[in-house]
Subunit: 344 residues, 3 copies
C-alpha cells in the first residue's frame, strides 16, 4: 500500500514541507530507510543520521523545521504522529469470521457476528463473545467469561471462569487471566487454601503482553481500568486495582490488594508490596521495590547502582557497616565539639 | 447454598455469640458485606469498618469478644476459620468424569475412575492418572508421568516426561514442569548441552501458580515436598529441593541445586543463588537476593530502600564511594586519636 | 545401553587409567553412583565424596591424576567431557516422522522430510519447516515463520508470524516468540499503539527455556545470534540484539533496543535498561540492573547485600542519609584541617 505525503497530512494533520506527491509504503528507521519509506526522529541521538538518511520523508518536531533537505512533516508530537502513520500503513487484519471445526464451543456460549475462533480453541458454558472478536488457536475461555467487541486474543491465551474483558482489548499468547490468587492461611502446621471467589474485570483498550498473569480476586474482583498497557511477564495479584492509562513495563510484580493510580509508569522488574496505594502520575524506576504507599506524583527509585565487581565488593562490604559508620561520625562530631568547647 | 451460623460452628467449632438461626450464603469483605454474608476481621485496619458493616455475621478473634452488636463467631485463628467457612460455601467442583473426544490419550496410559480430561488434552505413553483427577483443556502430560488422586490441572499446563505429581495437587494454567534444566558446559568456544536426565517429584497438597516453571533434574530429581505453595511466575531450577509447607510468593527464582527448608516463607521477586542451603523457618523479604547459605531461622532482607528519585540519586552516588568514605572516617579517628595522644 | 570405558576414550579422547573393559550405562552424581555408572568431579566440594563413591569410573582433571583407586578418565575439561559422555549415553530421541491427525496444517506450508508434528499443533499459511524438525503438541506457528533443520519445539510453544528460527534450535514449552513489542506513544491522554512490524531472527544451536518471551521488532528484527543459551522466564524486548554464545540465566529482562555482546554471561533476575550496548565477554551478576553501556569485558554487580532483617533495617535507614553523612565527614575533615592550620 502506498500513500502520498499529502494524503498523510490530509488524514492526520501536521504541516508538510516539500513535495506532497511523494508516496511511501512503509515506516522505517533513520539508518535503514529506503526512498519509499517515511521515518521520524525518535531520539536526539539519531540526529546525525538524519543528514545521511535515504528515507523519502521524515516526521519531526517544530525544532527541526528548516534543518532538512528531504520532505518532512512537522508534528506537535512526532512519536504519536509516527504511530498514526504506521497504523495507516499497517492496518490490523480484520477478523476472518468463522469457527475452525476443531474449536470446541459450548452450545450456551453467545457469539457475536464476525467472530473468528481458531483451531483447538475452547469456549465454555455461558461465555459471551461480542462482535468481531478474534480468538487465536488453543485459547481457553472459562465459563461465564466475556470478551468485548473487537477484542483480540492471540494463540494460547487462558482465561478462567467469570472474567470480563472490555472492547478492543489485545491479549498476547501465554497470558493467564483469572487464576486463583495466592490466598493461604496457616492452620496447625498446614496451609489452608482460601477459595478465590472474585473475578477479574478488565476495561477497554487494554493491551496485555505475553505470559503476563492476572489473578482473580479473593472475594471481590481484580480490576484493570481502561487504556492500561501491560508488557510481558507481569504478575498482578488478587484484588489489585490498576488505574486507567497506566503503563507497566515487563517483569513487574504487584502484590495483593494494592491500588495503582491513573497515568502511572512503572519500570521493568519493579515491585509493589501488598495493600499499598500509589497515587496518580507516579513514575517508578526499574528494579525498584515500593514498600510504602505513595501519595504524591513524582519519580521514585530504589535500584542498587551497579559497579565493576571489585568496587561493588568494597562498597557493599562497607554498606553492611553503614549504621556503625554513622555512629562513628557522630562520635567524631561530638569529640570535636567537646574539645572545641573545652578550649573555650 | 445457605448455612446457618449454628451449622457452621457445629461443623467447624468456635464459639457463636448471637442468633444461630441466621443463615449466610457467601463470605464477603467487611466494607461490602450483604446481610446474607459472613465476613471476618482480616486486618486491624478494617476495625472501624466493623462498626458499620451490613454483614449478617462476622468471624473474630478472642480480643473482639463483646465489642460487636451483630452475631459473631469467636475463633482461635479467625483467618483460617474464614478459609474453612469459605470452603464450605464454595466447594471445589467435582471432576465431571469423561474424556472429551478431542483429547488424545495414548492406549498405554492408565486412567483411574472418575477422571475428567478436557478438550485437546494430550496424554502420552505410559502416563498414570489416578482417580478423580481433572485435566484441563490443552494440557500436555509427557510419557511416564503420573498425577495423584484428586489432582487438578487447569487448562494449558505442560508436564514433560517422567514427572511425578502427588495427590490433591493443584496446578494452574501456563505452568511448565520438567523442562530441561539450564545445564551447559563451555567447550572450545561453544556451549555443550548437558542432558537433563533427572525428573521432577512433587508431593501431596502442593499448589503451583500460573506460569511457574519447575525444571527437571540434571541427574537426580528436582523435589517439591508436601504442602508447598507456589505463587505465579516462580522459577525453580534443576535439582532444587523445597521442604514441606514452604510458601513462595510470585516471581521468585531459585537457582540450581539449592535446598530450601520446611516452613519457609519467601517474599516476591526474591532470589536464591545456586548450591545454597536455607534452614527451616526462614523468612526472606521481597526483592532479596540470598547469596550465602542460611543456617538459622529468622528474617533476612536485602532490598534497596526506595526514595524520591532526587534523594536516591544523591545517596546512590555516595554509595559508590562508601568504601572510601569509611577510610576517611578511619583517618579522622586516627587524626583525633593522635592529637589526643600528642596532648597527653 | 552400555559402553566400555575404552569405548568412551576411543570416541571422545582423554586418557584412561584403569580397566578399559568396565562398562557403564549411565552418568551419576558422586554420592549416589552405582557400579555401572560413571561420575565426574563437578565441584571441589565433592572431593571427599570421591573417596567413598561406588561409581564404576570417574572423569577428573589433570590435578587428580593418581589420587584415585577406581578407574578414571583424565580430561582437559572434565565438565564438558562429562557432557559428551552423557550425550553418548542419553541420545536425543529422533523425530518420529508424521503429522498427528488433529494437527492443523495450512496447505501452503512447506514441510521437510522426517518432520514430526504433534496433536493439536497449528501450522499457518506459508510456514516453512525444514527436515527432521519436531513440533510438540499444541504448538502454534504463525504465518510465514520458519524452523531450521533438526529444530525441536516442545509442547505448547507459540511463534507469531514472520519469525525465523535456525537449525538445531531447542524451544521449551510456554515460550512465546514474536509477540508485539511494548511500543506505545502518549497522545492527548491516551496511549497509541505503535504497530510492531519487525520480526524475530533466531540463529542456529540456540536453546530457549520454558516461558521465555522474545518480542518482535518495532520496525527491524529482534536478533538472537547463534549458540545463545536462554534459561526460563527471560524477557527479551523488541529490537534487542544478543551476540553469539551468550548465556543468560533465568528471569532476566532486557529492555528495548539494547545490544548484548558475544560470550557474555548474565546472572539470574538481572536487567539491562533500554538502548544500551554491552561489549563482548561481560559478566553481569545476579539481580543487577545495568543502567549504562558497558565497554570493557569484566564482571559487573549491583545487588544489595542481604542481611538479618534487624541489621538491614539499621543500615538501610542510614543509607537514606548517606549523602548527608558524606557531607558531615567533609565538614569534619575541614574542621580538623582548619584547626591544624590554625595551630601552625
Amino acid at each position: 500500500m502506498f500513500i502520498t505525503l499529502a494524503g498523510i497530512v490530509e488524514r492526520l494533520g501536521g504541516e508538510l514541507v516539500g513535495d506532497g506527491g511523494i508516496a511511501v509504503r512503509q515506516v522505517a528507521t533513520v539508518e535503514k530507510a529506503l526512498p519509499d519509506t517515511i521515518t521520524f526522529l525518535a531520539n536526539e541521538r539519531y540526529l546525525p543520521h538524519l543528514k545521511s538518511t535515504t528515507a523519502g520523508a521524515v516526521i519531526v518536531g517544530e525544532a527541526l523545521r528548516g534543518a532538512l533537505v528531504i520532505p518532512y512533516i512537522v508534528a506537535a508530537n512526532p512519536y504519536s504522529y509516527f504511530a498514526r502513520v504506521s497504523a495507516l500503513l499497517n492496518p490490523e487484519p480484520e477478523a476472518a469470521p468463522g469457527f475452525h471445526p476443531s474449536a470446541v464451543i459450548h452450545p450456551t456460549a453467545v457469539i457475536g457476528e464476525g467472530v473468528e475462533i481458531g483451531p483447538c480453541a475452547v469456549i465454555e458454558e455461558g461465555v459471551v463473545i461480542a462482535a468481531h472478536v478474534r480468538i487465536g488457536a488453543g485459547c481457553y475461555i472459562g465459563a461465564h467469561s466475556s470478551i468485548g467487541e473487537h477484542g483480540h486474543l492471540y494463540a494460547n491465551v487462558t482465561i478462567y471462569k467469570q472474567c470480563s474483558i472490555g472492547v478492543r482489548t489485545i491479549i498476547h499468547s501465554g497470558v493467564v487471566i483469572g487464576a486463583d490468587g495466592f490466598g493461604i492461611a496457616m492452620d496447625e502446621g498446614r496451609w489452608l487454601k482460601i477459595p478465590q471467589i472474585g473475578g477479574v474485570s478488565i476495561g477497554d483498550d487494554v493491551e496485555i503482553g505475553a505470559n503476563t498473569t492476572i489473578d482473580r480476586g479473593a472475594i471481590e474482583d481484580t480490576v484493570i481500568e481502561d487504556g492500561v498497557k501491560l508488557d510481558n511477564q507481569i504478575q498482578i495479584a488478587h484484588n489489585v486495582h490498576i488505574g486507567a492509562h497506566t503503563a507497566i513495563a515487563a517483569c513487574v510484580g504487584i502484590a495483593g490488594s494494592s491500588r495503582v493510580g491513573r497515568y502511572c509508569r512503572i519500570g521493568g522488574a519493579s515491585g509493589i508490596a501488598g495493600h499499598l496505594s500509589i497515587s496518580d502520575q507516579v513514575e517508578i524506576s526499574a528494579h525498584t521495590l515500593v514498600t510504602k504507599s505513595i501519595t504524591e506524583p513524582g519519580t521514585y527509585t530504589g535500584a542498587y547502582p551497579f559497579e565493576v565487581n571489585r568496587d561493588w565488593r568494597r562498597n557493599a562490604a562497607s554498606l553492611r557497616n553503614l549504621a556503625e559508620l554513622t555512629e562513628r561520625v557522630r562520635a567524631l562530631e561530638k569529640a570535636l565539639e567537646l574539645r572545641k568547647k573545652g578550649k573555650q
